[in-house]
């Protein structure tokens, strides 16, 4: 295995958290060659919260997997904190759409899996795990099993698992996609707060325009396959987010702008003659 934990790195201090340069991805599939991602370039500064929105199948998850080093690129290059990505990147936390908690471990032990696998100090991190679980409202549920909790609670635990080892970068692949709308809003706000307080760089994939605008500093709008960056929208809203922001004209202006981009790409269509 080539996976060796890389920790210290003086060169990376000034480098952007994520640098994607001209990355593309082609798959060989039964239907022939699939061009999933085409010439994507994107840079995330440290502490930034960037969302990628796009229709299903636009390659946004593929892009995230390539950034995490879980899938090789077909062209271009990716750097995390100045280091080229050649295999799975360990200096990050990932949250997927499914919580992926292990059914036979308690909530606390699921979070501690990250620590066990990384061979970090268990006693020290157990305290941090409990405190983080407390902050996401799971303080009373640390010894419960995933099948005893709701989907939203399990996803909170999955987020804590991604944060426990204190990575600088968090990758999220439609993390709230499986939750109901109300839980989803609350989770978004809570996670936004948590990531801001902890000073994390976040790359957040979603297919919800309003979720993207609500959470992000910048929203990357992707086109249908082959996935390209159509536009990067800077969200000019205060750093601290409240639900009330959604009623602001600024918020509506951003969501309208992104929706119009999708209309222009033919992803969203107005009903004719209605």
């Amino acid at each position: 295995m080539t996976e060796v934990l890389r920790r210290t790195d003086p060169a990376g201090a000034a480098a952007p958290a994520v640098a994607v340069r001209g990355v593309s991805k082609r798959f060989a599939s039964r239907q022939g060659d699939v061009h999933a991602v085409d010439d994507v370039s994107l840079t995330l500064a440290r502490g930034e919260f960037v969302s990628i929105v796009g229709p299903s199948g636009c390659g946004k998850s593929t892009l995230l997997n390539m950034i995490a080093g879980l899938m090789p690129v077909s062209g271009g290059a990716i750097e995390i904190a100045g280091r080229p990505v050649t295999g799975p990147v360990h200096e990050l936390g990932i949250v997927f759409q499914q919580h992926l908690l292990l059914a036979w471990r308690t909530i606390l032990n699921n979070v501690m899996l990250q620590i066990e696998v990384r061979r970090l100090d268990r006693t020290r991190y157990a305290e941090r795990a409990k405190s983080l679980l407390g902050r996401v409202g799971l303080g009373d549920f640390v010894d419960r099993f995933p099948d005893e909790l709701s989907g939203g609670m399990n996803q909170r635990a999955a987020i804590v698992r991604a944060l426990i080892h204190d990575p600088e970068l968090i990758l999220m692949d439609e993390p709230f996609g499986a939750l109901d709308a109300i839980t989803r809003d609350q989770m978004g706000l809570d996670f936004h707060e948590l990531s801001r307080q902890e000073g994390k760089t976040v790359l957040f994939i979603t297919h919800s325009i309003s979720e993207a605008v609500f959470l992000s500093n910048r929203v990357v709008v992707m086109s249908p396959r082959p996935g390209r960056i159509e536009e990067v929208v800077a969200v000019e809203l205060p750093r601290e987010r409240h639900f009330a922001i959604r009623d602001e004209p600024e918020f509506a202006r951003h969501t309208r702008h992104i929706r119009q981009l999708f209309e222009r790409m033919g992803v969203l269509k107005e009903r004719r003659g209605a």
């Binding site: 295995m1 996976e3 934990l5 997997n65 995490a68 080093g69 879980l70 799975p88 990147v89 360990h90 990050l92 990932i94 997927f96 499914q98 992926l100 292990l102 059914a103 036979w104 471990r105 899996l113 990250q114 066990e116 696998v117 990384r118 099993f145 995933p146 099948d147």
Partner: protein, 272 residues
Amino acid sequence: MNSSPPRAAALVDLVDRFAVVLTLAAVVAAWELAVDLGGIPRFVLPAPSDIWASSVAHAGSLAAHSWVTLLETLAGFGVSVAIGIPLAVLIVYSRFFDRVLYPILVASQAVPKVALAPILLVALGYSILPKIIVAFLIAFFPVVVNTVTGLASVDRDTLNLMRSMGASKVDVFLKVRFPHAVPSMIAGFKVAIALAVVGAVVGEFVGSRSGLGYYLLLATGNFDTPLVFACVVCLTLMGIVLFYSVGLLELALARWNRTARRAAETAGAFGS
């Protein structure tokens, strides 16, 4: 007990709880009556009371032969697990085992293993060994297949998550694949233990000087049908006890293995 449930309801509850026992008792009673009133010859179908009397009369021999068959069964099952699980791990982790050996193994199941018993007898004689081998040959396939299925059914995102944490193959195996496979493995054990009994008895049929299979043939030769039935009852009881023992193993594992617990809850701890 409090007095709140009416008597009728309590009676229904009692009947519910002992429904299995009551049904069995009714069947045994009907059998007894049919044999007594129908004048069926004892050497064709003995009455339950005859079987009971024969069991009591031959209790010592039955116990001794049961012990032999039990040892053969447990040894055959033990070897199935000891070989089946490592083989399953190899199939999941090695391309050669997966692509070449596994298909051969699956195809080999078409071989009637019972038919191999005489060959084993010729090769290994009247010892306990050929019985253990027949029991193993029949029992090990469900162990392998269920373990392979369990180990291989971990979803890709979970494996990706482990990779991103920098997990070694050993970590992935010990922390994810193996515990994930436990419920499926135990389901395989349940099938295997029942088949191991069959294997041991077939091995004894072909050639032996002890064991319930041997004793059963001996009783058949003497037209001692009640004793034949007594042997069958012993084998049945042994099968039930062994099957339930695997169920107990499942419950014990369920204390630390949440997946096993859930499987136990949905399937019924002792299977059904």
